[in-house]
């Protein structure tokens, strides 16, 4: 019996098919990995006017012309970071800056924790871009202090700490510098 080899299949159009699939995926998908700034809103039940001592609160206002005022003084965007860092840390135990209290923190032991709260208020016509820019500066202040403490205690940045899965250590740092940014309702003028 003669040995008949099967006819060859023409693979010339394989590339075309693959290209078709490729183009399909290029069209229906997006490459952007979504990222954002995570915040937690205050729940409705929480009393709006909790009693917070004046020295423990940093009032950041962004007005309708996108100008920034912190505790009654007009400041530029680049100053926000320094003011916030100084406020959260209160390195010299200034009587006008937040009070601190001793707390037992897992891993780190007895530490002073500041009672700081940052309140950011905006006008109705504040631009979203400026609002986010201010939020970003405040977050940068927190992250800087967390990094600093983390480097000091564990010889790595806060980000690295989280990546290596040292959750207890990361939580200890978060307890010392909790990110308390209150997004209060915009002020409604009452006159």
């Amino acid at each position: 019996m003669k040995n008949v080899s099967p006819p060859q299949i023409n693979a010339g159009s394989m590339a075309d098919i693959a290209f078709l699939l490729l183009v399909f995926f290029l069209v229906v998908t997006t490459i952007d990995a979504d990222a954002g700034m995570f915040r937690k809103l205050a729940s409705m039940d929480e009393v709006e006017s909790q009693k917070i001592h004046e020295r423990n609160i940093l009032n950041v206002w962004v007005n309708k012309e996108d100008k920034i005022m912190i505790d009654g003084k007009e400041v530029e965007l680049f100053q926000v970071y320094d003011i916030a860092t100084n406020f959260i840390e209160n390195p010299k135990n200034d009587v006008l800056l937040p009070q601190k209290e001793w707390k037992t923190i897992p891993v780190l032991g007895e530490r002073e924790v500041s009672k700081q709260v940052i309140s950011i208020q905006n006008d109705e016509s504040t631009s979203y871009g400026q609002y986010i820019a201010v939020q970003n500066e405040l977050a940068r202040a927190y992250n800087h202090l967390r990094d600093q403490l983390s480097e000091q205690e564990f010889q790595m940045t806060f980000e690295e700490l989280k990546k290596t899965g040292a959750i207890e250590k990361a939580n200890a740092i978060k307890t010392i510098y909790p990110m308390r940014i209150s997004e209060a309702l915009p002020i409604v003028s009452t006159n």
Binding site: A15, M37, Q130
Partner: protein, 155 residues
């Protein structure tokens, strides 16, 4: 002299094998399949999200509900900011109901993990954003995220 520049003897170049072309294209295809995600919706509003440096990536995209706010892409609808939920324009009062339907699509155990992401144009006025935030508080959807791109803060 003439013999130095030989004329084409008619044989031509040997054909380049294209047998590996499909393999290359498949490789590209798999690269794109792995690195990209499906487009969620067709945008009906113009959104250029602000840039920021202190950002985190979403851990689980299926838990994210997007709210788009920006000027409408259709010129005849004017330039004032509009909200887009899913594939359609919506009003502030629709936000609560939309969040509830999104919750219905998930298990109860996942509901507390749901995040609402604001994709808001940087030129938008905060008024509309604040109203939406109030609506979210009413339905206790308290976890939010301001979508940003990585980069130096603008404005």
């Amino acid at each position: 002299m003439a013999s130095k520049f030989k004329k084409d003897d008619g044989k031509g170049d040997p054909a380049i094998s294209t047998a590996s072309l499909p393999d290359i294209v498949f490789m590209l295809l798999f690269f794109f399949m792995v690195t990209t995600v499906m487009r969620e919706v067709d945008l009906k509003v113009n959104v250029v999200v602000p840039s920021a440096t202190e950002i985190q990536k979403f851990k689980n995209k299926s838990l994210v509900t997007y709210i788009y706010i920006g000027s409408p892409t259709e010129k005849k609808l004017g330039t004032s900011s509009r909200i887009q939920l899913g594939d359609a324009y919506a009003e502030v009062k629709d936000v609560g109901a939309y969040i509830e339907t999104r919750r219905g699509e998930h298990d109860e155990a996942e509901v507390p993990l749901l995040v609402t992401a604001f994709k808001v144009d940087r030129e938008t006025k905060m008024g509309i954003v604040t109203e939406v935030k109030q609506e979210l508080r009413k339905v206790s959807a308290l976890k939010i995220s301001y979508s940003t791109v990585e980069g130096l803060a603008s404005n």
